[in-house]
């Protein structure tokens, strides 16, 4: 063991291209063997994962760390580990979309607590209630965090993801499936357990796929009933339906309590196609990208206004003939409780 380690180090030193690099590689290795020993398992495992400790041999890893650094993605975060002369690590943390940009082109931060504020709004200034939505703001960098700080910053960007990733790695991620979570709810969320299995599929498809959330969904309807919706490819798991999903589920549980009716609308074929385009544009979050004068796009604002002017009544409702109109469609008040 001892000899293979020293051989590895000798290998790293050979791969290093300058004296400085080989000194840093040796110091870095020593640092991992000493200072990192003291770290809690979860944090050490994450730091080792960042530099690919399980995927490359010691020589390659230290040569890379000492040379250009080792880079990893965590959600939309890009982490680059390098070595200081004393062997401790320095981390550059930024948005993956800013990978090629110079530090000088970005707003620099050195306090991990700033991560909370960066994570609050997206690039368009809209509030991000779900931290793992793929809408993290760009244009910032933490150019030189310590090992302790980088873990803290990551936990502010994506809370509890390191803890859950570690539990999953160790084989003891405690997944709580939909039924159990739904049945636990009280107060205004009491009704979410009324959703059927099919409705839970729609719920996961609406909120949990990779285009909406970067966590990899590990919960299902229950332990024995897997959902068909793709789980996603994220590095970190989702172990339980989150509060946003529960709040949305409440709304759907209320709507789904309504009985279906048959309506007859009069539309031209292109108007029907246009409604479908609008539905897609809203569902895919594409509305803001549609150009002002792009009247070829059914979800274009002028196109939608024309349709409304032509088909909607003054109060905005679509006049429709109802085949068997009974019952009511009361809508619960919106709440953020």
């Amino acid at each position: 063991m001892q000899s293979s380690l020293s051989e590895s180090l000798a290998g790293a030193a050979r791969l290093a291209q300058t004296v400085g690099e080989s000194v840093r590689a040796v110091a870095g290795f020593y640092h991992e063997r000493t200072a990192w020993r003291e770290l809690p398992d979860q944090r050490r495992a994450f730091l080792r994962w960042v530099e690919g400790a399980d995927e490359r041999n010691v020589a390659d890893r230290y040569a890379a760390l000492a040379r250009e650094g080792v880079t990893r993605r965590w959600g939309q975060l890009l982490l680059t580990a390098t070595l200081a002369t004393d062997g401790s690590r320095r981390y550059d943390l930024r948005h993956e979309a800013d990978a090629e940009r110079g530090v000088g082109d970005l707003t620099t931060h050195d306090d991990p607590l700033d991560a909370r504020h960066i994570a609050t709004n997206d690039d368009d200034g809209r509030y991000r209630p779900l931290k793992t939505a793929p809408t993290l703001r760009t244009g910032w960098v933490f150019p030189s965090l310590t090992a302790q700080q980088v873990v803290q910053a990551v936990d502010f960007f994506y809370p509890a993801t390191v803890a859950n990733w570690y539990r999953e790695r160790e084989g003891d991620l405690d997944v709580t499936h939909w039924r159990e979570t739904a049945e636990r709810q009280t107060g205004i969320y009491d009704i979410v357990d009324e959703l059927s299995g099919e409705q839970v599929e729609w719920l996961a498809e609406s909120c949990c796929v990779d285009s909406q959330c970067l966590k990899r969904r590990m919960w299902d309807e229950d332990e024995d009933t897997e959902l068909d919706v793709p789980r996603g490819d994220g590095a970190f798991p989702c172990r339980e339906p989150c509060s946003l999903v529960i709040a949305a589920a409440r709304k759907w549980a209320v709507f789904e309590g309504e009985s279906e009716r048959e309506y007859t609308f009069t539309l031209t074929p292109s108007e029907k196609g246009q409604l479908e385009e609008i539905l897609d544009a809203v569902a895919d979050g594409r509305v803001d990208e549609i150009r002002e004068a792009d009247v070829f796009d059914g979800a274009n604002r002028y196109r939608a206004r024309w349709l409304r002017a032509k088909r909607a009544a003054e109060d905005g409702t679509l006049p429709a003939v109802e085949a068997d109109g009974t019952g009511d469609e009361a809508d619960g008040a919106d709440a953020d409780d």
Partner: protein, 291 residues
């Protein structure tokens, strides 16, 4: 033994300012160095109550709810979501405003002791924060003489204790004799904040809502209900005269920096070793140093 502080708050899916006071007070406590770790957790944001305990490394965890009263959240939701083993509200032995702390374990984290504290809103030190809020909004460190003070609560929502907390602080502040008059008012029950001027003889009345964060209630409802603005989007002056009374509207008390002191006091009473942090934080945040 390392110790962590976890501040649990409501948060919001819609309003980004909801969590701001939580972050601010957490930062004050962090800067005091009293804890090895400080973490915020939310009902509506992340980390969730369900997952926050696994994000801290310390063995002793002090959980302080940033809520204004005892009730649904502090008694049911938080203990359930934190998975506190053997929690029973009787452990607080509270009359509705006297919850202190209890020591438990949590099912999802091995080897940690969780000290679950009563909410900040019913701690005695909260009365000082309300008074300090009155000082901040009037810009007068001696405010009181010639002034009335209205402590405003939501009223009968899900639990009766929400009104108890308002009365508790109104009574305590009244007993100090600092203000000419002190009244407890509510949004949804009598006596209503809408008619604030009617309840006071003083020409000047400071109105302090006992809310943790500014949001819909404190920024839109209360100002419009009191008539200090017709449209909250236009803002309001401080003070604004309504029916001949100058209304000094303070906004949510929870944004007052001295709140960090209440958080620390809760944790210290539950056994946290905070050294001289309480004295330091009190003096930094404008409270009176010492007891």
């Amino acid at each position: 033994m390392s110790q962590a502080l976890v501040i649990v708050a409501h948060g919001s899916h819609l309003n980004p300012d909801s969590s701001t006071p939580t972050f601010d007070h957490a930062d004050t406590v962090r800067a005091s160095g009293a804890f090895d770790e400080v973490r915020e957790a939310f009902w509506k944001e992340e980390p969730s109550f369900r997952e926050v305990l696994r994000t801290v490394e310390a063995d002793e965890v002090y959980v302080v709810p940033l809520f204004v009263s005892e009730g649904y959240f502090t008694e049911q939701v938080i203990p359930r979501e934190l998975r506190l083993d053997g929690w029973d509200v009787e452990q607080w032995d509270s009359d509705g405003t006297s919850a202190d702390h209890t020591t438990l374990t949590a099912r999802d984290v091995e080897g940690k002791t969780v000290h679950y504290c009563g909410p900040v809103g019913t701690h005695d030190a909260m009365s000082d924060v309300i008074v300090q809020r009155a000082e901040s909004v009037t810009g007068d460190a001696d405010v009181g003489d010639g002034f009335g003070l209205a402590v405003v609560g939501h009223g009968t929502e899900r639990n009766e204790n929400s009104a108890k907390a308002i009365h508790y602080h109104a009574d305590r502040i009244r007993e100090t004799g600092r203000f000419d008059e002190v009244e407890a008012l509510f949004m949804d029950e009598e006596p209503e904040v809408d008619d604030v001027a009617e309840f006071f003889e003083s020409d000047d009345v400071v109105v302090v809502p006992l809310f943790i964060a500014d949001g819909f209630h404190t920024q839109e409802d209360i100002p419009e209900d009191m008539g200090i603005t017709d449209d909250y989007r236009m803002g309001y002056d401080v003070p604004t005269a309504v029916d001949g009374t100058n209304i000094w509207y303070a906004g949510a008390v929870g944004t007052e920096p001295l709140m960090a002191d209440v958080v620390l006091e809760r944790a210290a009473e539950a056994g946290a070793d905070v050294g001289d942090a309480i004295v330091r934080v009190r003096s930094e945040t404008g409270g009176v140093a010492g007891d």
